[in-house]
Each structure stands twice: as C-alpha cells, then as structure tokens.
C-alpha cells in the first residue's frame, strides 16, 4: 500500500518511469538553433576560417567524352600564390564509389562528362586558384558521347566503362504472383510511358569541404554532409588509408535534400590538402553545383496496369530505365526503391518489374528527396487516375478501394505495422471539398489527388546494418548533451531529439544541447536519408535518455539517501518522498566526485525489428520498420493564352504515426510541396551536347513566393508500434504526392494527360493547341463523312 505522503507528492502527470512529463513531444517548437540563425551567427562551412587555410579550385573537363592525352601543370604551379597543383598522378589512383567503385577522384585517362574533375589547385585565395586553372593545359582526344540512356543501351553506342557492357551499371528483374493470369482476368489494361527529368536539389548553401592532415598523417574533413559516419568509413579506403585514419566533422548545413551525401570532390579536397601540407577548402559556385553536383536520377518508366471493372487492381508490369550519368553515386539503391516501393501502396499482388541503370556522358546522378520513389509515384499515381477515368470511377474512391491497410504484408514483403492511408484519403477529400468541387467543374480549373507510401529508413541502403545509437551526457551543470550520428541539415532533427530527451528527462529544451556529429566523438551514425532520423535516431535518443534517467535516479537515490524506487524527476529536480530534493547538477556532481570525475552517461540504441535487406535477386524483404503514408489534393488553374499553370491550393494529409514537432512537421510538408511543384511544373537541368545550358537560378527556375498555393496540412497519427511515441518519417512523403496530384488535376482541367515532366507552360499550350487541332480535324472528318 502506498505511503500517503508519497501519493500526495506524486503529480498526476507522473508515469511509472518516475518522470513528470511536461508534454514536450507533440508541442510546436521553432527549432533549437532558430535564434542563432535569425541573428546570422550560425557558422556554415564557408563562414569558417582555419588558420593557414588555402582555397582550392577544380579543373573540369569541357568535353562530355574524351581521352586525356596529357596534362601540363607547369604554368599553373609557377603562378605566385599557388601552393599545390595536383592531377591523378598525385593520387593513389584508387577507384571509388559509394555503391559501385567506378570513379577516380581525378580522372586518370578518360573524362566522361562535362564537369569531370581533371586537376585541382590550392592557392592563397579563390582569385589566384581560378587564374591558375586557366594555366593548366590539357590535351584531349575527343570521343563520341552518348546522352540518352535509351540510346546508350543500344549496340554500337559509345561505351563509357570497359567493365560494363551496353553501358549498363546494373539490371535486374523479378516477378511476383500470377502476372499474366491477372492481366488476362483484367477488364481494362492500360499502357503508358512516363518520363522524369534531371533536377537539382538547389539547397541554398552550395557544397564545400575543408580538409587538413595532422602531423601523424590523419585526415580531418569538415563537411556539410548527411552521412559523416559513412564518409568516414568509405573515404579511408578510397584514399588508401587504414580505417580510422579519417575524422569527419559535420558542419552546419544550409539544406541538402539528399544532395550532400558522399561526393568525390571531398576526396579531391583531401588530396589537395595533402599535397599542399596545409588545410584546404574547396567551395562550389552555384554554376558548379549544376555542372558537378549529384542531381536527381531521370527515369523512363513503361507501365502496364490491369484492373477489373469493379475497380480492383489486378496486375502491373513496370520497366524502368534510370539515367546514372557518367559514374555511379546512389543510383542502384534509388532504382531499387523506385522499382518496388510504390507497388506497396495498394493491395496489388501481381507485379513484374525490370529495372536498368544506364551510364551516359552526363553529370553523375544521385540522391534527392524521394529517392526514385518520387519519380515512380509520378508514373504510378498518374496511371491510377488513368485507370479510374477509364473505369468511370472516382479516382479517390478507386484508391480507397485498393488501399493498403495496417497488418498487410505487401507484395514485396513490407510489413505494414501502421497505416493511415485510408484516413488520409478521407481527410484530404473532406478538407479539399473533393466531391463538391468535382461535381461543379469550372472551365480551365481542375482538382486531382495522389497518394504515397514511403519508408522510415531502408535496411537495404547499407549492407552491414540499419539502426541508430545515441549517448546522453548529463554534465556537472545539470544540463544534457545528446550525442548522435544522425544529422540535422536544417530539417529539425536536433529539435526532435532535444524534445525526446526533454520528455524522458523531465527537462526543458533550454537544458538540452545537440551538437553536430563528429566521428571522433559521436556514436557511429548511418546518417540522415530515407526519412529515418526521427524514427531510428529518435528511438535511440529515447533509449539513451531512459538509460540516463535510470542512472540519474540511482545516483540521486544515494545522494538523497532515499529508498530505491521512490524518487521522482520533475522540472530538473529529483524529489524524495520526504521532500528532500536535488537538482540534476547536484546529482551529476555527486556522481562525478564518487566516480573519479565521470559524467552520467546514458547509452541507447535502436535496431529496427523485423527488417531485412531486400533479397538482391528477388527484391523481396521488409526493409523498414515503419511505413509513412500521405495524400495530396491539388487544385489548379490554367491560363489558356500562355499555358501557365497556377496551383491554387494543396491539401496535404500525412500519416506520420505521431507528430513530434507540429511546427516542424508543417514546415516539412510546405517545403516538400514547393519542391514537388518545382519538379512537376518548372525545373529542368537542360543539357545540350553534354553541356549544362542553364547552370544558374536565372535559367533554372525554382518556386518563389509568387508561385506558391494556399496549403492546408493535416496529420493522421496512426501510432506506429515501432516509432518513438509512434512516429514515422515525413521528409520524403512531403514531396512525393505533389507532382502526380498536379498532373491529375491538369487532366481534370484539360482532359490532357501529361506524362513527361516538367509540365511547362510551353508543353501545356502546345498540347492544348494540338487537342484543338485534333478536335477540329475530327469534326471536319465527321462532316466530310456526312
């Protein structure tokens, strides 16, 4: 029986973990570093200055495909102010690549895209370094290039890599269920080719790297990077160093969206610094971003889908061709995600898929929010609408009928622990006044819907494991430091981690700090990609906080000489039943004095249960422990004179399991919608004869304040059993439904199906024109035939 004094003291908010929860998780927070950013005091990598640091520049190939006959660096080396000039001769000449090792950091005998790195200069300032580049003489023998992946796989096309035939970096195919039978049983079968384009992440902070070697030959890299742990692992081997000889310090990041994972120019920076014997920074210009970044993988997707008249989805055949560019970045994983994930949005059991990753003489393509799943959803969700239209059913009802549910095991083996897809569809329908709008069609106005499924991390991404670990240190000042290897690139993971730590420790966010990752100090982290930080990182932080709490209570029990199990934590204090209390600082100091100065360290980790890497052959496997869902409804208006499309309104309903930070979650959706709109309507890196034709913001248009629609956001909390407090990922689901929702809305408005992105005003107007001409000629034909 409880001591009456204890029950008086225990507040109703207390739980069995002995902490008074102040409800931080679920409360809006502007971001733990927002203030620093608002006053311009947050230092990004180009704001930093290391003593004696030099500025580096990279000489890039002007040709899409050529043999390097000779590189003469003499004139550059002699330029006053130049401290080092390197070519491949000054490197270990080791092939590198995050997935397939097919690239030298500095080209050895061949260049394979306009922008390929050939040499690098370190000098006292960027002006001198740039001038030195113009003094490097390179003799090229031009080779015939190939730019279109569909041409590159044909016999006779120029071969980019001798070890790969037909320019195929990888190809695979699989089948599940009874595909042919299911097609035969279908009442309606539709076929369509879809195409998506080369787009750039356009984070506002261009890429940069700082490298420095210590006197023992150990390398430190300061990088605005999403994967400091993976970089540390892989760069040592790439540079011919023993493991552990590389330290990566993650700098504050001005956006990334997938574009700041591993990049070979980090290695060039390291090699340049080694040659110069001084720290070197290489900072990209905006033009260089377009020339030598890692833009989104373009796809050609051939879809064939069958359904029954009652609206049941029966079968799907998909053939995917992905443009790898000249070298392999994350293409293999992106292609696999594209080839499987969207199949799991609906209860579809019969699929046959082939996927092919093709080399072309263009900039290497890589990771960008959505990771192949965005491109495939454009195709898939457009096709769902085409089917619905063919069947004469409401596209939203069509989706409801076939939607995946919690408890399903999908065709690829995804175990759906929680699923708010149907709720999202219904919520989006209600908020957008779907039925009312559709029954009152207006000229040149359309409404469209699209749904999406994504992952919270992906076990297939890194072969060795998936999971996260965290350490929480309670210092003598009573404040907590959260050490994690997962990265905040501006999306707010630091704040989420601080909220979770605060929740479990009964502290306020002011008492918690979350420093950036430093591979010498932080637990190893796989990094931020795959919308994994909240679910995996958050779970690890929660476990670490629980461990820290237990240790704190144990130390406090001793300090307060209390009966074990009777202490409670409230508002930064530990309270005993008799009223005695100690601050976190008191407890931490007591612990330190008793243990030789040791801090209270909580350790925790999370290994997602039940996940496996997908089978390399069959692609079957439950790759994530939690699958988020989302639905967007878009309303558009078309200008019949110019073809310009105005997105009037987007309603977004997202099943995130649990909203940890409502302000942050809304921000993710609003930003994702902007990027989705850009992808759908205006963005395209135009490459002409291999040369980037619009490598700047004047000619590569991204959405501005004037382009944005009204956005209404709604969150469904399906309480995933594996997420911290039920939370699943949101970053990528935020963008995925937008492009197909817009395409579907345009179909509603114009009865024209756009299958190639971006849907520019020009494409719209020309299509309207063509439709008018076609209608006119049919009409005349009709007349003529009497």
């Amino acid at each position: 029986m409880a001591d009456p004094e204890i029950t008086d003291l225990i507040s109703p908010a207390l739980d069995s973990n002995h902490v008074a929860r102040i409800g931080v998780v679920g409360m809006p927070h502007p971001g733990v570093d927002a203030r620093a950013k608002a006053v311009g005091r947050l230092e990004y990598i180009t704001d930093m200055r290391l003593p004696k640091m030099l500025e580096g520049k990279i000489l890039r190939s002007p040709h899409p495909h050529a043999r390097i006959l000779n590189v003469d660096t003499q004139r550059a080396t002699r330029l006053p102010g130049v401290r080092a000039v390197i070519t491949s001769k000054d490197t270990p000449r080791l092939l590198y690549g995050p997935m397939i090792a097919d690239q030298y950091p500095l080209a050895v005998d061949r260049v394979r895209y306009v922008g390929d790195a050939v040499a690098a200069v370190a000098a006292i300032d960027t002006y001198t370094a740039t001038e030195a580049l113009s003094l490097i003489d390179v003799d090229y023998e031009i080779l015939p290039p190939v730019f279109d992946p569909m041409e590159a796989i044909l016999p006779g096309a120029p071969q980019l890599h001798d070890v790969k035939t037909r320019n195929i970096a990888l190809t695979a195919g699989w089948q599940r269920g009874e595909v042919d039978e299911a097609f035969r049983a279908s009442d309606v079968i539709l076929e369509q080719r879809f195409q998506t384009q080369l787009v750039h992440q356009c984070y506002m902070e261009p890429m940069a790297a700082i490298a420095a070697w210590d006197t023992h030959g150990r390398l430190t890299l300061w990088l605005p990077i999403q994967v400091p742990g993976l970089a540390q692992w892989n760069y040592a081997a790439a540079l011919g160093l023993a493991p552990g000889r590389v330290r990566v310090v993650q700098t504050e990041m001005g956006g990334a969206f997938g574009g700041k994972l591993e990049h070979s120019f980090h290695l060039v920076c390291a090699l340049l610094s080694q040659a110069a014997g001084l720290p070197v920074r290489i900072a990209y210009t905006r033009e260089e971003e377009f020339e030598a970044g890692l833009p989104r993988v373009p796809f050609v997707i051939d879809l064939r889908v069958g359904a029954k008249r009652d609206g049941t989805l029966m079968a799907k055949q998909a053939d995917l061709f992905a443009d790898n560019g000249a070298y392999t970045s994350y293409g293999p994983a992106i292609l696999s995600a594209a080839a499987t994930r969207s199949d799991c949005l609906y209860r579809l059991n019969n699929v046959r898929t082939s996927m092919t990753l093709v080399y072309t003489n263009k900039v290497p393509t890589g990771c960008f929010r959505g990771f192949g799943n965005l491109q495939m959803h454009f195709a898939n969700e457009s096709m769902m609408d085409m089917l619905a239209y063919e069947l004469g059913v409401d596209p939203l009802d069509f989706r409801l009928k076939n939607a995946t549910h919690a408890g399903d095991v999908t065709v690829h083996g995804f175990q759906i622990g929680s699923c708010g897809l149907s709720e999202c569809l219904k919520q989006a329908a209600e908020l957008s006044r779907w039925r009312e709008t559709r029954s009152n069609p207006r000229r040149l106005h359309g409404i469209g819907v699209a749904a999406a499924i994504h992952v919270s991390s992906n076990r297939s991404f890194v072969p060795e494991f998936d999971g996260s670990a965290a350490i929480i240190r309670i210092g003598a000042d009573g404040k907590a430091t959260v050490l994690t290897g997962e990265v905040d690139m501006g999306q707010g993971s630091k704040t989420v981690f601080a909220q979770i730590a605060a929740e479990e420790l009964g502290l306020t966010l002011n008492d918690i700090s979350v420093p950036n990752a430093d591979t010498d100090l932080s637990p190893f982290g796989l990094g931020t990609w795959g919308s994994r930080a909240t679910t995996l990182g958050g779970n690890a932080v929660k476990a670490a906080a629980e461990d820290a709490r237990r240790k704190l209570l144990t130390a406090a029990t001793e300090l307060l000489d209390a009966r074990p199990g009777t202490l409670v934590i409230e508002g930064g204090f530990v309270r005993a039943p008799d009223g005695a209390r100690a601050s976190f600082a008191d407890v931490a100091k007591h612990f330190a004095y008793r243990n030789g100065g040791a801090p209270i360290l909580g350790q925790g980790h999370f290994v997602p249960p039940g996940v496996v890497p997908s089978d390399p052959r069959t692609k079957f496997g439950n790759v994530s422990c939690a699958y988020p869902f989302g639905v967007h409804v878009a309303e558009v208006e078309v200008n019949i004179d110019t073809g310009q499309v105005r997105v009037v309104r987007i309603v977004a309903a997202h099943d995130v399991g649990k909203v940890v930070n409502p302000l942050g979650a809304e921000g993710q959706v609003e930003g994702g919608i902007a990027q989705g709109m850009g992808f759908a309507l205006m963005e395209e890196m135009q490459v002409i004869s291999g040369k980037p034709a619009n490598p700047n913001f004047r000619d590569y248009k991204i959405p501005s304040t004037m382009d944005m629609p009204e956005i209404e956001c709604s969150f469904i909390e399906s309480q995933d059993p594996h997420g911290p407090y039920g939370a699943k990922g949101l970053a990528e689901p935020a963008i995925i439904p937008t492009p197909p929702a817009i395409a579907n809305a345009l179909f509603d408005a114009l009865k024209i199906r756009f299958t190639e992105l971006p849907i520019t005003p020009q494409k719209v107007l020309m299509a309207i024109q063509q439709t008018k001409a076609h209608e006119a000629s049919s009409y005349r034909g009709g007349e003529a035939s009497g």
């Binding site: 990004y44 704001d47 984070y203 905006r286 902007a674 501005s704």
Partner: protein, 160 residues
C-alpha cells in the same frame, strides 16, 4: 589598384582598402568578418546576400564595394540590439519560418525594407517583396506569416 572607402556598417564607420573588382558581399564577409550575409549564387538571383544600403534592399553580390563609399549598410548582425531581437527576427523564430537558416538573413532584411516603407502590407505585398529571396526549405508559408506577424507587432508598439 586599391581604393580607400569609408563605409558605415551597422552603425560603425569603417575605412577599407578595396580592389575595384571586390563586391560589397566580399568585403562584408572577408574584410569585416560579417559572415551572416550569405553567398548563394553570386548573380543576384537568390537574395541570400540581401543587405540594406541606405535603407534599400540590394544584392550585395552585385554591388561593387567601391560604390559603397560614404554609404550606410545594414546587415543581419546589425539588426538585433544585444540580446533583444528585432521584431522580424522574433517573428521568424516564433512562426517556425527558419529551417536551414541560409536564406534567413536575406529574407529578414528584405522584409525590413518592406516594413520600413509599408508598415501594414497585405499578403500579396509581402510575397512580392520577397520574390527575390529564394528558399528551398520552407515553401515560404511561414516566412510570409512571420512578416505579417511582425508588421502587426510593430504597429501595435507604434500605437503604444
């Protein structure tokens, strides 16, 4: 050839030796270590380098340093008074308008230029004034809200 310029930055008069080719952005960041103003594109398209010159929002990357002789420049560092945030900074923080923060200084200064000449803008006017400040993270929704909120706050204070 070096030119000497006298330029007042955040209320402090500075004397600098500048090259003809140096931009205001370069001298702010490198000579004066005021790195709050960012370089996003170098071409006057993204607005990350927006500062106020004699009260006008300009792209510092397009302004030759030598042009700033005798002029007053306000950067993000000059906006807050000690620990006291300017209402715009406060509003950006409160409304959740800051994600990666790279576009933030430029956006705040463009907004200050707007509110200094138009203390009660409507949403369309806010959007137009920020048309030259690109953001890739936020979709602008909360940035617009922040400016409208700050304008209300400032008007409230003005009324006393």
């Amino acid at each position: 050839m070096k030119h000497t310029i006298a330029i007042t930055v955040n209320g402090t008069e500075e004397r600098l030796q500048v090259d003809a080719r140096q931009t205001l952005l370069e001298i702010l960041r490198e000579d004066l270590s005021l790195t709050g103003t960012k370089q996003g594109c170098g071409m006057g398209e993204c607005g990350a380098c927006t500062v106020l010159v004699d009260g006008m929002a300009v792209n510092a990357c397009l302004m030759l340093a030598i042009r700033c002789d005798g002029r007053e420049v306000l950067t993000i560092e000059g906006l807050s008074e000690g620990e006291q945030l300017h209402p715009l900074q406060q509003a950006f923080v409160e409304q959740g308008a800051i994600q990666c923060g790279f576009c933030t200084p430029g956006a705040i200064l463009s907004s200050k230029a707007l509110l200094d000449t138009n203390p009660s803008p409507d949403e369309a006017e806010v959007r137009e004034s920020l048309a030259g400040n690109l953001c890739r993270c936020t979709g602008y929704a909360k940035i617009v809200k922040a400016v409208l909120s700050a304008s209300k706050h400032q008007r409230g204070i003005a009324r006393g």
